[in-house]
Amino acid sequence: MKYMLLICGDETAAKHAEDGCGGWTDEMQARGVLRGGAGLRPPHDATTVRLRDDTVLLTDGPFAETKEQIGGFCLIECADLDEAIEISAKHPAASYGTIEIRPVVDP
């Protein structure tokens, strides 16, 4: 199964932006479960796009003004949800933010 891990945190999580992922990335690469991922610039650098009546509408900022913001993502491939939970719990962001595990739709 493929899962997208959405790394979320509130504004206090920003101070961890430069922390990197400790040994997590190396470990998961060695395990062969990591399929991609990156950290993201903060929400105020976001641009939201919608197409309505053939017109491109742009908004400055994220699509949802919530306290929790997505700060990064990882795509993993592993056996099942239990393994995805175990992988997520090891991610350093799990100790200060939240990680949302979203199953990727099978093509």
Binding site: D80, L81, D82, P103
Partner: protein
């Protein structure tokens, strides 16, 4: 000759979970498993009157359901994946439900239904549907929600299991310590839903308590090394033993002290204490074993005066250290009030009242009232009983509090 309908009803109670659980394992399809299990029981009703009741009804039902699932999958097969499933199923050896040592399908099902990635109410509903075979209507009635809401909850839970890749298995040993409590919690919740039922769809809810005990029994057989599973079974048995005396003929609440102990189920008490002793011997106490030990203190006391309140207070203190909660703290205060006198109990209750997480909980003023009454502070007691009366959620409890007020000679009309 045994009545076929009775035989099918018994088989339904005993085998439904096993049949569904085995089919989920082989097909991976929860809906198909339920439908084919239902179909197998319908066939039993139609065929057993002519063919006779099979020696092993469970094996007959599992084989029949499996055959039906194979047919369905063959007929519906559109792609290679489905055909592979069918191939895998036909290779599947016949089940040997009596073999020990083989991981039981029901245990897989129990752990999957109680996976912490599902909301607690979904865990409970799914357990009742797939493991106990209750209909959506029955589950909805037992939890006082609409039928369509319950159907939606069940569908969503099954979809999440499928789409999120919740594994259908008993978790590996290193995950058991964090996963077993969820299974125990669901069973205890089930039991309490049935046990504390004093109104509403009463009959179905009483069935829930018996059903929970049955599952706890299965669980202790399947996990003999888990003393908390045995602790939970013991706790349920010891509480269930008092079921007939908790409410009198007129439906009024009867306190533990006033219950007719001759009418307690002494076989159940004996079984409960035996199960508990076996668990405690392992030397790994946990919250369920401690609660069962408290229940055993009550159940084995000859009469209310014989109750070992010092022991109960000490057990509540242990319980509070492990699972701190305002409700446990309040129970400890009650026990201390009995062991060391009402003044000591009142001190603890008043401490609790200031910490305020019990605000709005009727048992706090009710407990205070009892202690004040025993201290002869009747005016304050009346005031506290009135406060409890305004907060009490059920008619039975309100009537009980009104009787207490009447005993104190207070005017019992409710302020509203």
């Amino acid at each position: 000759m045994i009545d076929v309908e009775t035989a099918v009803a018994t088989a339904f109670r005993e085998e439904w979970g096993q049949v569904v659980a085995a089919l989920i394992r082989t097909t991976g399809d929860w809906d198909l498993a339920e439908e084919c299990a239902q179909d197998a029981f319908a066939q039993a009703l139609a065929r057993w009157p002519h063919d006779g009741i099979p020696d092993r009804p469970g094996a007959w039902l599992t084989t029949t359901a499996r055959r039906r699932a194979t047919d369905r999958l063959r007929r519906d097969a559109v792609g290679a994946a489905k055909l592979r499933e069918v191939a895998a199923m036909t290779r599947e050896p016949e089940p040997h439900p009596d073999d020990s040592g083989v991981p039981d399908d029901r245990l897989r099902l129990m752990f999957t239904c109680c996976h912490p990635a599902l909301a607690l109410e979904s865990q409970v509903a799914l357990t009742l549907r797939t493991l106990a075979g209750l209909t959506t209507t029955e589950i909805a009635r037992a939890f006082l929600v609409g039928e369509s809401a319950m159907a939606k909850r069940l569908t969503r839970a099954k979809q999440k299991i499928k789409h999120a890749g919740v594994p259908y298995r008993v978790p590996p040993a290193h995950l058991l310590p964090e996963r077993t409590p969820a299974v125990l919690a669901v069973l205890y919740l089930l039991f309490n839903e049935g046990y504390s039922a004093t109104s509403g769809a009463e009959l179905i809810r009483h069935d829930l308590a018996a059903e929970a005990i049955r599952f706890a029994r299965v669980l202790t057989q399947l996990m003999p090394d888990e003393p908390e599973a045995a602790g939970l079974l013991a706790l349920m048995l010891l509480q269930h033993a008092r079921r007939d005396t908790r409410v009198d003929g007129a439906g009024e609440l009867v306190t533990l002290a006033e219950q007719d102990r001759d009418r307690w189920d002494h076989d159940e008490i004996a079984e409960g204490t035996t199960v508990l002793d076996g668990a405690l011997r392992r030397g790994q106490p946990g919250p369920y074993q401690i609660q069962a030990a408290i229940a055993a203190c009550h159940a084995t006391a000859r009469d209310a005066a014989d109750t070992d309140w010092t022991q109960i207070a000490a057990l509540y203190e242990q319980l509070e250290q492990r699972t701190p909660s305002p409700a446990v703290a309040l129970n400890r205060a009650v026990a201390v009030g009995m062991a060391d006198g009402p003044a000591a109990g009142l001190r603890l209750v008043d401490e609790l009242a200031t910490s305020s997480s019990l605000a709005g909980y009727h048992l706090l003023p009710a407990t205070r009232a009892d202690l004040l009454r025993r201290l002869g502070r009747d005016v304050e007691a009346v005031e506290a009983y009135r406060e409890a009366l305004a907060l009490a959620p059920t008619g039975t409890e309100r009537r009980y509090l009104r009787r207490k007020l009447a005993d104190l000679g207070a005017n019992v009309t409710e302020k509203s």
